[in-house]
């Protein structure tokens, strides 16, 4: 490993260092605030050390590809992690649980996600994914006193282990056929075929199963609502944004490398998954009374939408995926941020009744929630609208009319359950108990997220330029 390699991996090394420092800090003295500050500092330092764009791309051995796509998404992941960390402090400060380990697992999970977005090799792919999953097992079941946290943790543990087995088997089959595990090498191998050999096809299929579990797209989505419901609200925010986003970026990198959409069978698989996710996610969300479950089904549907741009797989498609991820991250973090702020020490604010009359009792918070819900629904002047527009554009430019039409129809169906939450918030206020005072970090995060959502919705050109410069693939 040369000196240049170390410089390019500095953000990741900083995260590692942060995790070890947090561990030592806990060993010396358990202080929630100190550990929290240490976590935030780690993320900020890691962000500071992100490689400069002029020097990209750089390959670290065969394992990591530090290019524009990777650096941009590392940045997004770390910013999202910072937002989740800010939420977590307020959330865990009001609960009588040990808090130190949470931040350690949190940094390690972020590290895993950051490894995933720059990996150009099956080994780093799998390791990143496993570090992310293993850290998440602990984070999901963190609130030991709550009933459903064990259920959520076990469910995620078993299904994640099961899907990892599929993923690994798929990688093994591809390796058996090609003798290569780097994306670059596979790219050369795949370009030699007009039609996939059946062994490789099976391998790719199994990889899609493993990744599909992480993305919680439809045949592999069963765990999502239960885990979101049982997990602490900030952890649910982490799973729905960082864990999914990192997997998506990895899939983009892999399928761009092997030029997977040249093969009709791969195209068919992803088209079916996309349609199923959109339809099933939205229909199941309609009947839910639990806000966390609604957000879970909504995230399933959103990844169905996102796959439309993923299938396009051209330059516009990759840009659209990145823009959509930014908008989706900001929106989901905002929504879960509101859930976090409203949560009681005993249980999270997950029932629709918890939000009744919110607009009158806490107007600022309700406004934030309304903006995020409208962004999820894709209403103009929010980032969600521009993102969805981008998806449509990339879908139309590659003539996937079926997907485009279904995307529009499903967005209208989705509008119903988002508006229903808004309507509940407009209901007349009833007597409610005084809520605990808020935390500055929480409100600052929510404020920034809302400003971003509206800003990207009104003038998206700045972000589009950044993405185009960084991510532009040949």
């Amino acid at each position: 490993m040369s000196r240049a390699d170390i410089i390019f991996l500095l953000p990741h090394l900083m995260l590692t260092l942060g995790a070890v420092l947090v561990m030592m800090a806990i060993a010396v003295r358990r202080n929630h605030f100190a550990v929290y500050v240490l976590t935030c500092l780690t993320l900020i330092v890691a962000l500071y050390f992100l490689p400069k764009t002029a020097s990209l791309p750089h390959n670290v051995g065969v394992l990591f590809v530090v290019d524009g796509l990777g650096v941009f998404n590392t940045m997004i992941i770390m910013l999202a992690a910072l937002a989740v960390a800010l939420m977590s402090y307020a959330y865990f400060d009001t609960r009588e649980e040990r808090t130190g380990e949470y931040y350690m697992l949190f940094i390690l999970a972020t590290f895993g996600a950051c490894i995933m977005v720059i990996s150009g090799h099956f080994v780093s792919f799998f390791l990143g994914l496993e570090i992310l999953s293993v850290s998440l097992y602990g984070m999901i079941a963190y609130l030991r006193k709550r009933e459903r946290s064990d259920e959520a943790g076990i469910k995620y543990l078993i299904l994640a282990a099961f899907s990892s087995a599929f993923l690994l088997f798929g990688m093994a089959l591809i390796y058996a056929a090609t003798g290569d595990m780097t994306f670059e090498g596979l790219s050369g191998y795949f370009s030699a075929f007009d039609e996939l050999p059946i062994l490789v096809m099976t391998g790719v299929g199994l990889v899609v199963v493993g990744a599909g579990f992480k993305l919680s797209v439809v045949p592999f989505h069963m765990w999502t609502p239960d885990v979101y419901e049982g997990a602490p609200a900030p952890v649910a925010a982490f799973i729905s944004t960082i864990s999914k986003g990192a997997t998506m970026v990895l899939l983009v990198r892999f399928f761009l490398a092997i030029d997977g959409f040249r093969f009709p069978v791969v195209l068919t698989i992803f088209t079916v998954i996309s349609i199923a996710s959109m339809v099933v996610g939205n229909i199941l969300a309609l009947r839910q009374q639990n806000v966390k479950r609604i957000l879970a089904y909504s995230s399933i549907a959103h990844f169905g939408y996102l796959l439309v741009a993923f299938i396009a797989a051209d330059e516009l498609g990759v840009e659209a995926v990145n823009f959509y991820l930014v908008a989706y991250f900001a929106t989901m973090l905002g929504a879960f941020g509101v859930v976090t702020v409203l949560s009681h020490p005993e249980r999270d604010a997950e029932l629709l009744d918890d939000y009744r009359g919110l607009l009158w009792s806490r107007p600022a918070l309700a406004t934030v929630f309304v903006v995020t819900l409208l962004s999820l629904a894709g209403i103009p002047l929010t980032a969600g609208f521009v993102a969805k527009f981008y998806l449509l554009a990339s879908g139309i430019s590659t003539n996937q009319w079926l997907l485009v039409i279904l995307l529009v129809v499903n967005s209208i169906v989705g509008l119903f359950y988002y508006i229903r939450i808004v309507a509940v918030m407009f209901d007349s206020a009833e007597e409610r108990e005084a809520r605990p005072a808020g935390y500055v970090g929480n409100f600052a995060t929510l404020l920034i997220l809302v400003v971003l959502l509206v800003w990207f919705g009104v003038s998206p050109q700045g972000l589009i330029d950044v993405i185009r410069n960084l991510v532009g693939v040949g």
Binding site: G61, L63, E96, L108, A109, V123, L127, G128, R144, P197
Partner: protein
């Protein structure tokens, strides 16, 4: 000679795996699983991967199986608990499993695999060289994976009892007073 050994070991591995599924007693299942692991370790030996074989025996047949046995004995599984699978679930499992088997056997029957000279890979010496040169970064990342697993396990395994936050002295004295009154009432 190697070919016969391969067929013999494969036969044992498949039979062992089938017996794991079909035997009614969980402890018998686990013993057959140990047999399967050993035969797979022998396969590694045939591939000239002695180190992998040794690690496989130590980790799977040793550590993990002991863990399995403990869990099964502690859970005290009997047949009354087990009958939860509906007919639909069984049919679905057979159909999906069967489909997967067909796909895999079709894939592997016609497969042309790329051959690797087994004399240059596999041994502890070669493995060590590759692991600490080419794959140094992932090797280090694995330690983080283990750190995450260890932290998570310790965190989850601690008792569910109410844990008092250290700095919150007021709450603690309050609680102590409460217990005192309870004692008094008794």
């Amino acid at each position: 000679m190697t070919l016969y050994a391969f067929y013999f070991l494969s036969f044992l591995a498949v039979m062992g795996a089938l017996m794991v599924v079909f035997s009614r007693n969980p402890v018998t299942s686990v013993i057959f699983l140990v047999m399967t692991f050993f035969t797979i370790a022998c396969h590694y030996m045939l591939l000239n991967a002695q180190f992998l074989a040794a690690v496989h025996v130590i980790v799977y047949a040793g550590a993990i199986m002991v863990l399995f046995l403990y869990v099964i004995m502690l859970l005290n599984l009997n047949e009354a608990v087990e009958k939860q699978k509906t007919l639909l679930l069984k049919v679905a499992a057979i159909v999906t499993g069967g489909l997967f088997m067909i796909v895999l056997s079709a894939a592997l029957r016609t497969a042309e695999t790329s051959y690797i000279d087994t004399s240059v890979v596999g041994s502890a010496r070669n493995l060590g060289k590759v692991l600490l040169n080419e794959y140094l970064l992932p090797f280090e990342a694995v330690s983080l994976l283990l750190l995450a697993a260890m932290t998570g396990a310790i965190m989850l395994a601690r008792s569910r009892k109410r844990i008092k936050p250290a700095p919150n002295v007021v709450g603690m004295t309050h609680e102590r007073e409460q217990t005192k009154t309870v004692v008094h009432e008794q």
